[in-house]
Each structure stands twice: as C-alpha cells, then as structure tokens.
Amino acid sequence: MTPTGITVSSYLENETDLSEFNKAWIKTDLKNTLRDRIDYTIFAPNN
C-alpha cells in the first residue's frame, strides 16, 4: 500500500463525525495494537 502520509489517528482526530470513535480509539490505545507492515480495513462507526 502506498503511504498517504495520513495516519489513522490523525485522520480520526480531524473527522468531526468520528469524534466518538476517536475517543474510544485513544482510550484503548489501539494504534499500538496495529503493526505497521500490515494493511488493515477499519469500519469506523460515526457519531
């Protein structure tokens, strides 16, 4: 996958309709669960 320069965390921080999901993402520290070399698909519920 070609790097876009946008991380999942930074994308979530800037999407207002995903702010609730972002809070859960931060609280569970999930970004440290994901490994950099694997491509993931994430289904993010909106607010």
């Binding site: 609730e20 993402w25 999930l30 694997i38 698909t41 519920p45 909106n46």
Partner: protein, 183 residues
C-alpha cells in the same frame, strides 16, 4: 456509543480486519466471511465478520457502510452508520443466503434449540448450505407445511448438526488424533 466501545474493547477490535478491502473488493465477492481482531472469549480464536454487498455493504446484518475507501497510511477506512454487533451463530444463520433453507428448518419449533447457540457455550454447528438440501433424496422442506411442522420432521437431522461443549475448527478435524468429546 463511545461508552459502549470503551467498556468493551472487543467491539472496537471487531471493526478491524487484517487485509486491505476496498468497496470494489466487497462488490466482487458479493458476500462472505472474514476475520476481525476481536477474539472469542471461550477459545481465543479471531471472530468472524459477515459482509454482504448489494446497493450498500452491510456488516453482520446490521451496520451499513455510508462512506467508503478512505486511504490512510496502513489502513483503508470505511464509515459505518452503527457499531458492528459481535457475531452470533443465530445471526449468521439468519443473514447468510447460503443458509436460507437451513434457517427455515431451525425457525419456530427449534428456536428453543437455537437460543442455546451462543458462543460462550462453546458449541459447534455444521450448517448445510442450500444446495446440500437440493441434492438430498429426502424432501427437507415441504412447502405445504408450516415451519413448525418442517422443523419437527427434521428433528434428528438438526440434532446431528450440533456438537455440544466443543468448538471445532477445520484444522482440528484434520488432526489425526481428533475425537469428538460429545455426541
């Protein structure tokens, strides 16, 4: 929503699969299963997720993708309209089109049996796909009878589809020393 996710990390892990899946990939496959990062608390295996792509992509029969194909560094993101429910056997029997006839045999009279099919009980169910019914020389579904009558007629068949107190994966069945611990 957030409180629910915060209290249950498995709900958050249930939103993630370990491969790149664009909307076009779902559309090609039409429907099927994949694995999420969420784990079954009974055997610590990854839980499945069922997707069906028609006019929209629906996950586990409840959550609809409303914005798709958002690219980030190591993930494709799709926005969905609600939290994806954790999978249950009953849910999959209800929504998997390949199991429509099996579903019909387990409705009504057998709801008491299906109500026991929750993951923490650690059961295995061998579900027969639609074509399996068509190729059999016994009419499992009599369209002239009610679901209750059909289910009662198929009692032995349904009982034989279930293994109690044992969660069996294909890799288990391939193990030379594998044995059933119940009927």
């Amino acid at each position: 929503m957030t409180e629910e996710i915060n209290e249950r990390k498995d709900l958050l892990l249930n939103t993630i699969i370990t491969k790149r899946m664009l909307k076009s990939d779902f559309n090609i496959l039409k429907y099927g299963y994949d694995s999420t990062l969420a784990l079954n608390s009974n055997n610590y295996q990854n839980l499945s997720i069922f997707f069906k792509a028609e006019a929209s992509i629906i996950l586990n029969g409840k959550s609809k993708v409303i914005v798709s194909d958002i690219e980030t560094d190591n993930a494709i993101m799709h926005k969905v309209n609600k939290i994806i429910p954790l999978p249950t056997t009953n849910n999959y029997i209800d929504i998997d089109p390949d199991l429509a006839l099996f579903n019909k045999t387990t409705t009504d009279y057998f709801n008491f049996w299906r109500s026991k099919l929750i993951p923490k009980l650690g059961r295995t169910i061998f579900t027969v796909i639609n074509s399996g019914f068509y190729s059999y020389d016994i009419e499992f579904i009599d369209k002239g009878k009610s679901n209750y009558e059909n289910a009662a007629y198929n009692y032995d068949f349904l009982r034989d589809c279930h293994v109690s107190n044992q969660m069996i994966k294909m890799e288990n069945l391939r193990t030379p020393k594998f044995t059933f611990i119940s009927y």
